[in-house]
């Protein structure tokens, strides 16, 4: 059994305890740390009551992403302007839903791509409406 608790060491032990003090890091350290922090997905969003709404928004958006091209293709072949305007209304609703989903998931690239896709479809619908 090792016993260092001799009286000769007590003075040094007291001196060592005095070393236990706070040492503020250099001012520049926090900017370095802040730059290197990776982005984190927000667990409050995924674990809260908003999660089902977000999931529904994403599903609706994805569903529209699949169905709208078919509807628009049908509208494009239909003779009447009324059909084109109906397709335009559906597209407007889809764009609103995508925008809402993107506010909840601003870093989701597929939502950005979907918005671009819808914009192009809208431009095509407008072109056809003007020509009908």
């Amino acid at each position: 059994m090792i016993d260092d608790s001799t009286s000769s060491y007590l003075g040094l032990q007291n001196a060592l305890r005095q070393l236990a003090r706070d040492e503020p890091p250099p001012w520049a350290l926090w900017p370095r740390i802040a730059r290197s922090l990776p982005p984190r997905r927000s667990p409050w969003l995924l674990g809260s009551a908003l999660a089902p709404a977000l999931a529904a928004a994403v599903l609706v958006t994805c569903g529209l992403g699949l169905l709208l091209p078919i509807a628009l293709a049908q509208a494009a072949t239909a003779p009447g302007a009324a059909t084109l305007r109906e397709a335009m209304l559906q597209l407007d609703g889809a764009q609103v839903r995508v925008a809402a989903a993107q506010r909840l998931q601003p870093q989701a690239t597929y939502l950005t791509e979907l918005r671009v896709h819808y914009s192009l479809q809208r431009a095509e619908l407008e072109r056809r409406l003007q020509g009908s």
Binding site: D4, D22, R41
Partner: protein, 178 residues
């Protein structure tokens, strides 16, 4: 350990919750509150090497940011963060320690302890000059107030081996201060 342990909630709980939700501003607040304590412990473990201590402190806060979602509040945030920082410092020292540890055990230990009324600067230099493993044990036990069991768990050694390291570290320190 001198940090209060076993605290379920503490003054940081609201800020921690915001940081867990991804708020960098909240994490900056936690940094302002705890950086000095963390950096102090890291600086001592790193033998007062300011460059290494800065790197380790940065790594510690980055590790804390990554691990925050798993923080359950079983201990105070300060305790949790401090342990992360100490583990980061020990990991940084590990390579040096492996090289030097055996040499440390073989190093001749003065048989007669000497009284060492050291000045702070002199004492810091003597602590810094210790081999990494000896310094880790000495700082954690005699400065930070850890138990041998806690140190042994962190270093992956038995409490008995920790006591042996501490005995030799103290002897080396006394010899350097003579």
């Amino acid at each position: 350990m001198r940090v209060a342990a076993g605290v379920v909630s503490d003054a940081d709980s609201d800020v921690v919750a915001a940081a867990v939700a991804g708020s960098r501003a909240a994490f900056a607040t936690l940094y302002r509150r705890h950086a000095a304590r963390v950096h102090g412990a890291v600086l001592r473990l790193c033998g007062y090497d300011p460059v290494q201590a800065e790197d380790v402190t940065q790594e510690a806060f980055m590790a804390a940011w990554r691990s925050l979602p798993s923080f359950r509040g079983d201990s105070a945030f300060a305790t949790w963060l401090y342990r992360i920082a100490v583990n980061q410092a020990l990991a940084a020292l590990r390579t040096k320690a492996i090289v030097v540890a055996d040499g440390c055990l073989d190093e001749e230990v003065p048989s007669e302890p000497a009284a060492c009324p050291a000045e702070r600067g002199e004492l810091e230099r003597a602590v810094a000059a210790l081999p990494p493993r000896a310094r880790s044990v000495l700082v954690l036990h005699d400065v930070e107030g850890w138990t041998h069991d806690d140190i042994g768990r962190s270093l992956g050694i038995t409490a008995g081996a920790c006591k042996a390291h501490l005995h030799r570290a103290r002897a080396l320190l006394r010899a350097r201060l003579e």
